[in-house]
């Protein structure tokens, strides 16, 4: 097979579409392709067998392939790649694609399609993939000529990674992968219809600087866009120069170091009191790669009841003034805009900076005093227990044991919020979760993607007994590739977030939110050759975590039996505003012990 590869490299002989696909992926320097074979992609899989340019990771369900590719991208900043077959393979991938779309993650999903003459004939394993995915991709393609494969894949990677990133689907009919064509991979892409703006408008940047320097109650609010745009170092520089408070959204955690005194915590529905109060009461707000969504500011009317001037930096113009009218929009790549702001700030305040060394912004000591008062409310303090494991305590210990340096993936629900609240992320691209779509089941495949991205890193999957069962089959994939992931399952025998809402808003009618007939997770893990641990006593939490993370080459599944009744606080109910925060629900019936 080597001689054949050599032949095609050396001569201009036509090659098959399948081989073109492989060579394109190699040109893009793809290291991992997460996939699952099937009829329509057999030609491609045959070429995968013959190559060693990238490693193919065989998952156990196509959804997991896309999630793993998505997490690989979140962890590295590179484009993740998944490969699935037509029909059910393609539809299984859709949840993964929609998840990536909502969080603007650059991935390329290659799906097989029935042969061109069979399209539209209701052929076996046929589904209109381009039609099905249209509302949840940045763009998609159906390749109908072998000559178009290379240029299309080039475009797919370019579109996925530039501007506001997102998933791109390339649907390739089976016969096209067998047809022959000369191979030519374009060096660059020119598209008259797609030219993302990179540099921010300098007049707007000047205006923003002036506003920031004059602010009395400034606030810096950053989201997933800052992390994805690799703008965190520039943001840290800006924030430290100004000495202003910073909050991160759920997607933006790690964008500013959580252990820094200027950090006021996550904001939003389950954000800290100080973050939400500062957001509500600031006079100048700078939003960076964040989109004022419903889980962040709640009801826009409540938010707008306080007057403030808003500066908004975003690569996507449609994110600006969507839910909240913005005063100074700056469209551009966050890294480029922030670096220009830092330069402008340096020039503007050179004299001041040299005399005072730091805090060249307005004197905002009164504002900090106010923020410290809000901090004094201690909205993140929970009542620990010696008899039952509190989920928050597990996360705090996880943070200690991993020295705050793990990749933490989560599923969706209460455990996700506790992980976000109690694990202090100091680095970007370490907190990997489904913020936009809120997809249960992402946790384990996300952990796989992270572990492939950084094979020696500590990877913790914080999950619940509900979420983990949505992609539990991936325990097998983890065994096959020897991934030393640590699963931290907060097992409260409830779909906790559903139960919490039923407690608050449906008078304790726990409709279908109890998780019955759970497996013995320890035995389940062991059956795959993993290590299983069950922890029921609060005193054992720290020791168990240490023991698990000491097993550097083992996958450890930790089943923490936690307090069934614990709720996530603070909380802003859906549809309410930031000023309507609930710190603790007084719930006598459920908190007697």
């Amino acid at each position: 097979m080597d001689s054949q590869a050599k032949k095609t490299a050396d001569t201009k002989a036509p090659i098959t579409g399948a081989e073109i696909v492989i060579r394109c992926l190699n040109e893009e320097k793809v290291k991992f392709v997460f996939g699952y074979p099937g009829g329509a992609v057999l030609h491609i899989y045959d070429e995968i067998y013959k190559q060693n340019g990238f490693k193919h990771i065989l998952v156990r369900h196509e959804q997991a392939a896309v999630h793993a590719a998505d997490a690989y991208s979140r962890a590295t900043g590179l484009v993740g790649v998944a490969l699935v077959t037509s029909g059910p393979g393609a539809t299984n991938a859709v949840t993964g694609i929609a998840t990536a779309y909502m969080d603007s993650i650059p991935i390329v999903v290659i799906s097989g399609q029935v042969p061109v003459p069979a399209i539209g004939m209701d052929a076996f394993q046929e589904v209109d993939m381009v039609g099905v995915t249209r509302p949840c991709v940045k763009h998609n393609f159906l390749v109908k000529d072998v000559k178009d494969i290379a240029a299309t894949i080039k475009k797919a990677f370019y579109i996925a990674a530039t501007g506001r990133p997102g998933p791109v689907v390339v649907d390739i009919p089976k016969d096209i992968t067998a047809h022959l064509a000369d191979y030519f991979y374009p060096k660059s892409v020119e598209m008259r219809s797609y030219n993302p703006v990179l540099k921010g408008h300098s007049g707007q940047i000047k205006k923003a600087i002036k506003l920031l320097l004059e602010a009395k109650r400034p606030m810096i609010y950053t989201g997933g866009g800052l992390v994805l745009g690799d703008g965190a170092p520039e943001l840290v520089k800006l924030a430290r120069t100004l000495g202003y408070p910073v909050t991160n959204t759920l997607m933006g955690l790690g964008g500013y170091p959580a252990s820094d005194p200027q950090f006021v915590g996550m904001l939003g529905m389950h954000g800290s009191y100080e973050a939400n109060m500062a957001m509500q009461n600031c006079d100048v707000l700078i939003a960076v790669g964040a989109r004022f969504d419903d889980r962040v500011i709640g009801d826009p009317k409540d938010f707008l009841s306080k007057k403030r001037t808003i500066i908004h930096i975003d690569v996507d113009p449609s994110s600006i003034s969507k839910r909240v009218k913005v005063d100074v929009p700056i469209v551009g790549h966050v890294q480029s805009v922030l670096s220009e702001m830092n330069e402008a700030l340096y020039l503007e305040t050179k004299g001041a900076a040299e005399s005072t060394k730091n805090n060249i912004g307005n004197n905002i000591s009164a504002w900090w005093k106010q923020i410290d008062e809000w901090r004094g409310v201690k909205s993140m303090v929970y009542q620990n227990s010696t008899t039952v494991i509190k989920p928050q305590y597990v996360i705090e210990k996880l943070w200690e044991v991993t020295k705050g340096d793990a990749y933490v993936t989560s599923d969706v629900g209460q455990h996700q919020m506790w992980a976000a609240q109690y694990y202090k992320f100091d680095k970007p691209r370490r907190w990997i979760n489904s913020g936009g779509l809120g997809t249960m089941g992402v946790g384990l495949p996300y952990a796989m993607g992270c572990q492939f991205a950084d094979k020696d890193a500590q990877v913790a999957c914080v999950t619940g007994e509900g979420s983990i069962q949505m992609n539990i089959q991936e325990l097998s994939t983890c065994a096959q590739y020897g991934l030393p992931i640590k699963v931290i399952m907060l097992n409260n025998r409830y779909l906790g977030m559903v139960r919490q809402w039923q407690e608050f808003f449906y008078e304790n009618r726990y409709s279908e939110s109890y998780m019955d007939s759970l497996p013995d997770f320890v035995k389940l893990a062991e059956s795959y050759g993993h290590v299983g641990m069950k922890i029921t006593n609060p005193a054992d939490v720290e020791g168990a975590l240490k023991e698990a993370f000491a097993k550097k080459d083992k996958f450890v599944f930790m089943d923490f039996i936690t307090d069934q009744d614990e709720n996530v606080f603070p909380m802003i109910a859906a549809g309410k505003g930031l000023s309507e925060m609930v710190l603790k629900k007084d719930n006598k019936e459920r908190h007697e012990d």
């Binding site: 763009h139 159906l142 579109i159 008259r192 009218k325």
Partner: protein, 163 residues
Amino acid sequence: MKHIISILIENEAGALSRVAGLFSARGYNIESLTVAATEDATMSRMTIVTSGSDEVIEQIIKQLNKLIDVIKVLDLNDGKYIERELMLVKVKATAAFRDEMKRMCDIFRGRIIDVADGSFTIELTGSGTKLDAFIESLDKTAILETVRTGASGIGRGDRILKL
């Protein structure tokens, strides 16, 4: 408020469904949508008549621009423009009413393009409101069938939407 939005878009399979899908997915109104290739066959020109508050129209334009296949977007209402729509109406034209129907058609500067035993088919071009007015002025029971193309729009004078 009603807006007429002109779009230059790559003439590719599925491009129309991306635009139509965007409007339905985000809950925007479409009063009418017309599309055909331009003098450059690789591009299509689309005219969409929609309505919404200023904020909604701003979002529609931004979201349209975000579609990868969309080359240019112009809100014709931002300046002076001309709007034209074609309508074909088949009306009852029995002996007693034939003259009356012909007169009506002339008043609106329509043309009778098909004459049959009991009916005329009238071709009428104009703004949407003119076509509405014609329909209004006819006796409802006289209308057998109508078909409208939806509005096409173009900027006046120097306002040119081109690559």
